[in-house]
Symmetry: C2
Subunit: 218 residues, 2 copies
């Protein structure tokens, strides 16, 4: 599943969806996507944009229309989508909506090494992050209000998704904070002990050498 795309960068998806409406030149694609409130998807990386467009053209998903210039500005190349490009857009969307693949958010990585920090400090850090998540929630809500008067809900659905996920994350964080600060997390004493003395339980060290049946391993 999740076949190898000729141009794998997700920015290519956004580009295709913009050019699907009408032909345009690269810079215009960026501003168009902004106009649709999609700039959150891709915090436009200029370097990538041009590489991606060139690759799409190379693989026949976009075609060069004209390479005119206005005045003595740097030459602008206008692209249009090809039938193949349209097919790729639809196929890719199908894949993204139907295939669940595990992802690895940065916060998850932080959790997986949480033990290197003491429990008391962890509580403080999590509280900070919780505040950040709440800020993001407010921003998303604001974006929804800003755009919904003119953009149909269908085109803002990913912001609703953001809101749902942010809410879930906040709830989970609150309960973890509660468990640690309330002292109900099992193993809290060992954690504190490990952190203060630097001692490592023998079993954990031993585990490092054992090779056991793995999770997620096909």
């Amino acid at each position: 599943m999740a076949k190898r795309r000729r141009v794998a960068n997700l920015m290519a998806l956004a580009v295709l969806s913009a050019v699907a409406f009408r032909q345009m030149h690269p810079y215009e694609m960026a501003t168009t996507l902004r106009g649709w409130g999609k700039e959150r998807d891709l915090q436009i990386k200029w370097g990538s944009l041009y590489t991606v467009v060139r690759n799409l053209a190379k693989h026949g998903l976009l075609a060069e229309v004209e390479s005119g210039r206005e005045g003595r500005r740097p030459e602008r190349t206008v692209y249009r989508i090809t039938d193949e490009g349209r097919a790729e857009l639809v196929d890719w969307a199908r894949e993204l909506l139907s295939v669940a693949e595990p992802e690895f958010p940065r916060f998850r990585a932080g959790l997986s090494v949480m033990a290197v920090i003491g429990p008391d400090e962890v509580v403080t850090l999590l509280q900070q992050r919780l505040a950040g998540v709440e800020r993001e929630t407010a921003e998303a809500r604001a974006a929804l209000e800003l755009h919904s008067p003119r953009v149909p809900r269908l085109f803002l659905i990913e912001i609703e998704y953001d809101l749902a996920m942010l809410a879930a994350e906040a709830a989970w964080m609150r309960s973890l904070i509660e468990e640690i600060s309330g002292g109900t997390l099992p193993g809290l004493a060992e954690w504190r002990h490990h952190h203060e003395t630097g001692e490592i339980s023998a079993e954990l060290v031993e585990l490092a050498d054992s090779s056991i049946e793995q999770y997620g391993k096909k």
Copy 2:
């Protein structure tokens, strides 16, 4: 916030956390992380592993201990963590636990171009993905059961996080499916019309040209 790391790849974090226990050579780091059930974090990319380790060494976060060989096997280089490396590990963990930064999961990208597919097919696709999410949930639960007898909960906390997020995602997807298939999603008729005829509402086209105040823009 979120300062530039000397070695930015998250695999470096995992490597540091492994080497923090005892000195080892690269291949051993991979198996150690497996032993702790952390292989989900990084589906070990062999190419990256060696690049990352070399970079960590270059920046003084790891130090070469010995470069012995056994028999006529390829030479093995053993690394130990430096004080600087230990500091980086802790500092990085602090950052990851305290800073919330928006991320862009692939599914979100799919949602943002959902309109290129018709509503009926979208329902089918979402149902497929929902099944996938449920499968992942089962796997995570199994992993938790497999490891919890010997690994303290503290070290499996990221799996609990996975479970919470998967549950939220499933719930959200179910409600979206319900709205579309139940016909209660506003704009459903236009969507269907657009999909069948290829027509684009004039306002949307117009929006592409306007440049309005942006969401998420600092």
